[in-house]
């Protein structure tokens, strides 16, 4: 299973020196229920940033 996500990586290339997301991580990126929670979280973070940025 994990193999599917990393089989395209070649040894000793720059791509081999970083982190590659596996199935669960990728699933969560487009899992609607989880992403609804993340949508709320992102909006809260951005609102805080906007409030802290206006002088």
């Amino acid at each position: 299973m994990a193999r599917e996500h990393i089989k395209h990586i070649e040894s000793y290339t720059p791509q081999a020196g970083t982190m590659i997301p596996l199935g669960t991580q990728k699933f969560l990126r487009t899992c609607v229920l989880w992403q609804i929670i993340r949508f709320i979280a992102i909006n809260i973070k951005m609102t805080k940033l906007i409030v802290n940025s206006h002088h």
Binding site: I9, Q35, I36, I50, H54
Partner: protein, 489 residues
């Protein structure tokens, strides 16, 4: 009655004009000078560039909006500024050349009491041989800088997809077209949206995709990268950027100055001084930016362009322009009020102001060629600057103060950025980032230069929804529809 003239109707200029019209009302005049007849929500141009949106989705006519707001709209480009007037005119004025409204080619001198320079960038395609001539894109590459460019890019992309469907392999080269470019974020969005589209079209296996940029590390984005808390660690954006590039099978060339573009090939120099070539079938290379090239003249007609503008054509403001070593850069170098130091009734906002220096560490190749990303001025900071200078000018016009009353300093404000990695209501993703402050302050935040609690990033469908929301919200706001002031910059 005072007259405020605003040069430019992009994010900064249009924000300034919208608030100026609201706050100054009928008592004073607001004039907007822009060569464009349409407003463009530039962040969505990348979706036009992959055929997921049309030009109509990202633009609207300025004339009716400005009529409604009682803004005097002139479709013209600003050619020069006379901040002291002239021998025949006591008052300060700008000279403009019309590009529309039935007066194409005609010149006019427009007097002002206050001036906001929000002209944005000159797309300096001509800086790289073969990339284009002057501000005109060449024929070897495509662009997503304007809506029209993006429409053309989508057509060319479709031609390549058709070829791949017939079994031909194609090489895609996306990134920056010069060693001193900014806007790596836009190129990042474009390469990932193309990759997403190619997968959807079932031809991804026929495409070799290569990123080329002037960043010394992936994830620099012209702001020296950023650090994000993740899984009990603080990690550089380098790690996350390399991760998504590797995940999606993209190769990358970094620390690169593209010095020539020919049909199907670029020549570039890297930081180690090596000169290399890369062939391509489809290339989108962001051009370097410069100021639009306005001149400035004194009372007697003497050329005072270097008093008002920096050598790159961007306007001097209240920044510390003292040349200094990168290790001596300070957050306090960055301007606060955006007021021109010589002519106190002139302000600059958005890309039009001259930054004191880059944000990223300056680099040169072994041959001495500068290869350094220049500072990005993205939508949120640009809009905040447009609003802040307008607030200052309104207070000055109304006699509340003789000095600017509001600030918008990039080392004291944050930016929220959403970089699309592919469009789709349930299949799209984007990277949603908050960076605070935009320009790192290593004295206030030792180590990373930024507030680690206010600097965040994540990739997912939610961020794509946010980008869609921002698209609709900011077009609503720019059209001055009901409640537009409730949408924050």
């Amino acid at each position: 009655m005072a007259r405020l003239v605003i040069l430019g109707a992009g994010v900064a200029g249009h924000t300034a004009a919208s608030f100026a019209a609201k706050w100054l009302g009928k008592k004073h005049e607001v004039v907007v000078v822009t060569p464009n007849s349409k407003w463009n929500w530039i962040p969505s141009n990348i979706w036009v560039g992959v055929g997921e949106m049309s030009k109509k989705d990202v633009t609207f006519d300025l004339d009716p909006v400005y009529k409604k707001a009682r803004v005097d709209y002139r479709q013209a480009k600003a050619v020069s500024i006379n901040p002291e007037g002239s021998t025949s005119k006591a008052k300060a004025f700008v000279t403009v050349e019309y590009t529309g409204q039935g007066k194409e080619g005609q010149s006019e001198e427009i007097e002002y009491d206050y001036l906001i320079n929000a002209t944005g960038p000159k797309l300096n395609f001509g800086a790289t041989p073969g990339l284009g001539e002057g501000t005109t894109m060449g024929e070897h590459t495509v662009s997503v800088c304007t809506a029209d460019h993006a429409v053309h890019a989508a057509h060319v992309l479709d031609e390549k997809i058709a070829k791949m469907k017939k079994g031909e392999e194609q090489t895609f080269l996306i990134g920056t077209g010069h060693g001193m470019c900014t806007c790596q974020g836009a190129a990042f969005e474009y390469i990932f949206n193309i990759e997403h589209k190619l997968r959807n079209e079932g031809v991804r296996d026929k495409a070799k995709m290569i990123w080329i940029s002037n960043e010394s590390f992936l994830g620099d984005f012209g702001m020296g990268g950023m650090h994000i808390k993740m899984g009990g660690y603080v990690a550089s954006s380098k790690i996350f950027a390399e991760s998504i590039y590797a995940e999606r099978g993209l190769d990358w060339i970094i620390g690169a100055h593209v010095n020539k573009v020919e049909a199907g090939k670029v020549t570039y120099e890297t930081l180690d001084g090596k000169i290399s070539e890369q062939e391509f079938d489809f290339a989108m290379l962001i051009p370097p930016f410069a100021g639009v090239g306005m001149k400035a003249y004194g009372k007697d007609g003497e050329d005072i362009t270097d008093v008002v503008f920096a050598p790159n054509g961007m306007m001097k403001v209240d920044a510390d322009y003292t040349p200094k070593d990168y290790r001596d850069w300070r957050a306090s170098d960055w301007p606060k009020t955006l007021q021109n130091p010589t002519y106190k009734n002139i302000f600059a906002a958005g890309i039009a102001f001259a930054p004191p220096h880059p944000i990223s560490k300056p680099m040169k190749s072994e041959n001495g060629t500068p290869i350094t990303p220049t500072p990005p001025r993205t939508g949120m900071p640009s809009a905040m600057m447009g609003k802040a200078v307008t607030q200052s000018i309104v207070d000055m016009i109304n006699g509340k103060s003789s000095e600017p009353t509001h600030t918008a300093c990039m080392s004291e404000m944050g930016a929220a950025c959403v970089a699309s990695a592919g469009k789709g209501l349930f299949s799209g993703t984007a990277a949603a980032m908050t960076v605070f402050p935009v320009v790192p302050d290593f004295e206030k935040y030792p180590g990373t230069g930024r507030d680690i609690n206010g600097t965040t990033g994540e990739i997912g469908l939610a961020a794509h929804w946010v980008k869609h929301l921002l698209h609709h919200a900011f077009i609503w706001k720019a059209k001055l529809k009901p409640g537009w002031t409730l949408i924050p910059e």
